[in-house]
């Protein structure tokens, strides 16, 4: 898959919507510059992750616990940085005023999702 499509998939996973071509091009440039090499196993995981956001979320979450320095995570991290340093996505990174209760509920909800995806991800990482 080309890096422009990768960027779009990553953007949907990280911030819930696809990014502009400009940001996708930036990701493509960054990947070229950083020369990230995936091992054979990582490549298989990556191919699966690029099939849909569900697998991407699971594999990233699984790797966060089993191999947090994986080169797959490095690619996701690059895209996260690119999204943050953009006018297009900055609001997804700047906190908003909220009630404490709202924050606590949100944290619990995110935590539950994170655990769910991590469990699936660990299984996938083990199986592949």
């Amino acid at each position: 898959m080309d890096s422009i499509r990768e960027a779009q998939n990553l953007s949907v996973y990280l911030c819930g919507r696809p990014c502009s071509d400009e940001l996708a091009m930036r990701y493509s440039l960054a990947i070229g510059q950083q020369q990230i090499q995936l091992s054979e196993k990582d490549q298989k995981l990556w191919d699966l992750a690029m099939k849909n956001t569900f697998f991407l979320a699971a594999i990233d979450s699984g790797l966060a616990l089993t191999n947090s320095k994986s080169q797959i995570r490095r690619k996701v991290f690059l895209m996260l940085a690119i999204l943050e340093a953009s006018v297009e996505f900055c609001d997804e990174f700047i906190p908003k005023g909220k009630s404490k209760l709202n924050v606590l509920f949100s944290l619990v909800w995110i935590g539950m999702k994170a655990v769910f995806f991590a469990i699936i991800g660990i299984l996938i990482v083990k199986l592949i």
Binding site: Y13, L14, C15, R26, A30, Q33, Q34, A57, A58, D60, S61, A64, L65, S68, K69, R73, R74, V76, F77, L78, L80, A81, I82, E84, A85, S86, V87, C90, D91, E92, F93, I94, P95, K96, G97, K98, S99, K100, N102, V103, L104, S106, L107, I110, G111, K113, A114, F117, A118, G121
Partner: protein
């Protein structure tokens, strides 16, 4: 060969003040400096606050991430993680020109115009009389020099409970900057719990910082744009290069960047200095009547050892152990982000268990925003999408306590210069830095006390991270002050023993390193040394 009356090597905190002091005394002075500089990002950062920039500047990725994505660091960074792409020039060329190899010590050096002072956190601390004496400094002279330096660089602060540990006897400080909400909340908790905390030896107050709250010459008072780690638009935070730039207008001053000083030799009342041009590698000799070394303690050590042909000789070294604790201040959860604030530490918490203002530990308290969220997301054990959401929710509640521990000399804290195949210098500095078991226990104990105090202040520590030795970026003690004239030591007025006209104005002489940031004292010492030569 070029001749000068006085040559100062280095334009960092100490070199700049050394040169300024000499120039004001009417001497003819040249600063010989590697002098690496950055122009790429400096001019594209808008003169606006962080929040506005984030929402409007379509070029922000250039300086926030770097044109080569150098600001997106994947590897564990050992030292200097606050260095953003616009500050990366501070470490440029250091590995090639000043190689340092060690398994246990990871110092951070600079060859930049303005030295490490181009990115320092501006925390200023006057050492107590006992601390100055243990360093080997003259308390009366240094306290006088503190006021001179404060006047020059502009220090803001307050004589509150932190006063004895930060402003000391400095009388000309500007009013402190208004506190951002999260630090103000910790401060108000301190006022409520003061009696109990003081009993345990904890004292909190406003930090003394070289950040203007009133205009000074061409520098403006801080606009609270929360961009201090990226830009110097209003020049409110003092950077050593500002002193160098202001000196350039003086007829008795020359700034000579682009030279790596290798060694010196005294010949017939002159000091001959051999330097290498860092762009074309050519070698040149400069000559002066008096040489002032202010190249930072490790670089000064290289020059001194090389000049004396002392390969393999061990010199002592000091570096404050540093740990930091990310904490959660639950009371701040969900708080609206502030448009105008500063990311510079505005409050400090000192631990002085004996209440003697000696053997004190120091912690600056910071909020987290300027350095962007993606770096925090990397620290969570979550998939990045969940890490982003979690950190976005928690960010307003983060208070980070950076703890410096006081440091004494030890048998396993040393550096030495060895021959190597380095094509530019022919040598490499090596070193070791190991704390004794007793020192580690003392750190453990200190950190436990801090965790307790922070909880009392409403900040719940999440973890304690110890940086590798070198991480504090506070170095000293390679050529300790000595009453005798043994080699590789300094007389109390800063003369390098064994030489007639060579002086050292950086922290090489300090035999002790209080936990309080040393840079104000470095500058005061440089002013003091150069007031006498």
């Amino acid at each position: 060969m070029q001749d000068f009356d006085y040559i100062v090597v280095g334009s960092g905190a100490t070199g700049a003040i050394a040169a300024k002091t000499l120039v004001e005394r009417g001497k003819n002075v040249a600063v010989l400096d590697a002098g690496i500089w950055e122009e790429k990002y400096r001019n594209i950062i808008p003169d606006q606050d962080w929040l506005t920039i984030r929402k409007t500047d379509t070029n922000q990725h250039r300086y926030f991430l770097g044109d080569n994505f150098e600001g997106v660091v994947w590897e564990e960074s050992r030292v200097g993680s606050q260095l953003t792409p616009p500050r990366n020039y501070l470490k440029q060329s250091v590995e090639e020109l000043m190689p340092f190899v060690s398994e246990t010590f990871f110092p951070f050096e600079s060859l930049a115009k303005g030295g490490l002072g181009g990115g320092w956190g501006t925390g200023c601390f006057a050492f107590s009389t006992a601390e100055l004496e243990k360093c080997g400094l003259n308390p009366t002279e240094i306290k006088k020099a503190y006021n001179q330096v404060s006047e020059l660089i502009g220090i803001s602060g307050q004589h509150d409970d932190s006063g004895p540990y930060s402003l000391g006897e400095i009388e000309n400080a500007q009013a402190p900057i208004s506190m951002e909400k999260s630090i103000a909340k910790v401060y108000s908790n301190y006022q409520k719990q003061k009696a109990a905390l003081n009993k345990d030896g904890f004292f909190m107050g406003r930090s003394a910082i070289a950040l203007l709250t009133q205009d000074l010459d061409d520098r403006q008072s801080c606009k609270k744009y929360d961009m201090e780690f990226w830009a110097d638009k209003d020049k409110s935070a003092y950077r050593s290069w500002m002193t160098i730039d202001s000196l350039k207008a003086k007829p008795n001053f020359d700034y000579l960047p682009g030279w790596l000083v290798l060694s010196f030799q005294e010949v017939d009342g002159w000091v001959n200095i051999t330097a290498r041009n860092i762009s074309d590698n050519s070698e040149q000799t400069f000559r002066c009547r008096q040489l002032v070394l202010a190249a930072g303690v490790l670089s000064t050590a290289r020059i001194v050892l090389r000049s004396g042909n002392q390969m393999g000789i061990k010199l002592p070294v000091l570096c404050n152990p540093y740990s930091y604790m990310p904490t959660m201040q639950l009371a701040m959860l969900g708080n609206e982000p502030e448009q105008f604030k500063t990311g510079i530490g505005q409050a400090a918490l000192f631990h002085d268990p004996n209440k003697t203002n000696f053997d004190v530990a120091q912690s600056a308290l910071f909020s987290y925003r300027q350095l962007l969220l993606f770096k925090l997301a990397k620290e969570t054990p979550l998939g990045f999408a969940f890490g982003r959401q979690t950190m976005k929710l928690l960010q307003s509640a983060f208070v980070i306590a950076g703890i410096h521990h006081p440091e004494v000399q030890g048998p396993d804290k040393w550096i030495k210069l060895e021959k190597s195949d380095n094509p530019l210098t022919g040598d490499t500095l090596t070193g070791e830095y190991l704390l004794s078991e007793k020192e580690k226990e003392r750190m453990d104990w200190r950190e436990t006390q801090y965790r307790k105090a922070l909880r009392t202040l409403g900040c719940f520590p999440l973890k304690t991270i110890r940086t590798p030795q070198g991480g504090s970026i506070h170095y000293a003690g390679t050529l300790p002050f000595s009453d005798s004239d043994k080699s590789n030591s300094l007389s109390v007025d800063g003369k390098l023993n064994g030489y007639k006209n060579v002086w050292v104005a950086d922290g090489s002489g300090f035999s002790y390193l209080p936990a309080k940031g040393l840079t104000l004292t470095l500058m005061a010492n440089a002013a003091n040394v150069c007031s006498k030569i």
